[in-house]
Amino acid sequence: MSVKKKFKGLSDKAVGWLFIGPTVLLLLAINIYPLVYAIKMSFTNFYANKIGREPQFVGLKNYIKVLNKEAIWEKMQVTASFMFWTLLLQAIIGLGLALLLNRKFKGNELLTTLIVLPMMLSPAVVGVFWTYLYNPQVGLFNYVVNFFYDLGSFDMIGSSTLAPWAIVIVDTWMWTPFTMLICLAGLRSVPNYLYEAAEVDRASKWQQFIYITLPSVLPFLLLALLFRGIENFKMFDMVVELTSGGPGSATELASINLKREAFEKWKTGYSSAFAVILFVTIFGFGNVYVKVMNKIKER
């Protein structure tokens, strides 16, 4: 073999692998391996705190246990209602703000930056921050609410009827900017001549919204909601910081319950099964959602 040939370099394919290789390895190590390991554990009676005891294969027993446990369905309901309200509010307010910011006015850019700020904070910080805001004695939140409508003293975090709304409000405050930004990108992609054509065709503002604006931003909005949905299904840090799932289990989302089962009660096998069920749920919903979204986009 000649020297020249030896140094001829790598094929395109090899270069490709060289580039994505590190990422693939990293993904395998921190995503795929734990997943596979969890799936394996979910079929055993493993307790991570009982060192030395060999886990035994128990078949589907963990799964049956999870699905038959009434409390699990309650947590799922808490998660579902948290998701429903956060997504609904973030869709409406996000789109509304985007529509406002899409107009040209002075200070437009500054306002956009300010609105986007909450999104950039760490969820744990947001949790702590809002704990103070919600404080019934000195918190700003109660003060502002009472300023507009006198409710007297109330405790957003301490009351089991108000606490679910407390976390919905914080998540909406934090993440509406995200849907807003993506909707804004959608709105900016609508060419102005469509509105001019509609204007000349004597369409009302409402018709312009229905015929032009809404169909153009809908794919963007749905994409934003997909991201938010996945995130909120897994919501953990902000809520733990704010309410720790309480009072009682009023704000105990599935993910918080899972953490308790896994790292407070150390039922590793059982909680692995729970985790796999959550994973399959979100994976299934996500896929259906993407299919529907693509249908809408094609329309």
Partner: protein, 336 residues
């Protein structure tokens, strides 16, 4: 339909780009008016000012003698075919055509909308595309839908911004003929904008020639062709293009700085002038011969074909009655 008048219209963009200067024109009810001018002359701006999509600096826009300068686009009731396809991309061809009829200012019953849409679709030969999405069409089909969306209603005036320029030659010709027929049938008032002289001459009742934001001449296609008031206007119509030559080149009575000589007003084969053939282009029904005469290139066109070859000497004569005379400022010198 309405009579539309523009009076002393001025329009600048960004406070410095003078797009329109002192535009005065009248489009009679039922007239097909063509604005002819090269790119950047201000054609689109004129249409947008009439439609109310641009604020004008000064001047008046009148519909049937009523001043509507400050009215919103919707209340002006005009229809507009835009230069670029501006269909509503999320809707079908049918919905696009029906859209102007669904305006709250019009509110027709569904049955009537259906009839009108189907009639217009048939006229433009897009009936089989009615269920297609607007984005699932060829360029030609899109533009026909855009034209259909304008024609589906009866506004004060139809404004058309180079509606055929993006189509291929054959379709352009077909649609041109159709558009003229439609206009005659509906007795429609149309302001049509183009840089294509063939469109201008075949469609127009009246042509307005636009140059750098100013109207330099208004007249029938014949008047513009036979009686242009400047070199610029004379060059707008005619193919092959008019010859602009120094007046001293030919034996003409008095001192004339420049003359314009249409190619068909040159007779080949015989005459007092001798040149050399540069090229011969046979276009079928006519032949264009380029002649070098005292270092000027002159185009002559004759009926049928012409037997000769390049570099041959050639004698020719000119039809002095048809010579257009221009002064040093490129303006026409009129005989008294």
């Amino acid at each position: 339909m309405a009579k539309v008048e523009l009076k002393k219209l001025f329009k600048t963009y960004n406070k410095k780009i003078k797009a329109l200067e002192d535009i005065n024109l009248t489009i009679e009810d039922g007239q097909f008016f063509v604005l002819l001018g090269p790119s950047g002359a201000g054609k689109t701006t004129t249409l947008r000012c009439i439609a109310g999509l641009e604020k004008i600096d000064s001047g008046d826009v009148l519909f049937n003698d009523e001043n509507i300068t400050h009215d919103q686009p919707a209340s002006r009731d005009v229809s507009f075919v835009f230069q670029q396809y501006s269909l509503y991309p999320h809707y079908t061809v049918y919905e696009n055509l029906a859209f102007p009829l669904r305006s709250p200012m019009r509110k027709l019953p569904d049955e009537e909308i259906k009839n009108k849409v189907e009639k217009i679709a048939e006229m433009l030969k897009i009936t089989n595309k009615l269920k297609n999405k607007a984005t699932e069409l060829s360029g030609g089909e899109m533009q026909r839908v855009a034209i259909g969306r304008a024609l589906v209603r009866e506004p004060n005036i139809y404004l058309m911004d180079e509606p055929l320029s993006s189509l291929d030659a054959k379709l352009r010709e077909t649609l041109r003929v159709e558009l003229k027929n439609i206009q005659l049938n509906l007795n429609a008032t149309i302001l049509y904008v183009t840089h294509d002289q063939a469109e201008a001459t075949t469609l127009a009742d009246k042509i307005g020639v636009l140059k750098e934001g100013k109207i330099v001449q208004i007249g029938t296609p014949e008047e513009i062709y036979e009686n242009p008031n400047s070199i610029y206007v004379s060059q707008r119509l005619g193919s092959p293009k008019i010859n602009i030559l120094p007046g001293s080149l030919f034996k003409l009575d008095n001192n004339i700085p420049k003359i314009g000589l249409r190619p068909e007003n040159i007779e080949l084969g015989d005459g007092p002038y001798e040149g050399k053939i540069i090229s011969i282009e046979n276009l079928g029904s006519e032949t264009v011969v380029a002649i070098n005469f005292q270092d000027n290139e002159i185009l002559a066109s004759i009926q049928g074909s012409y037997k000769s070859s390049i570099n041959e000497k050639i004698n020719f004569d000119i039809n002095t009655n048809k010579v257009l005379k221009f002064d040093n400022g490129d303006q026409r010198i009129h005989e008294r």
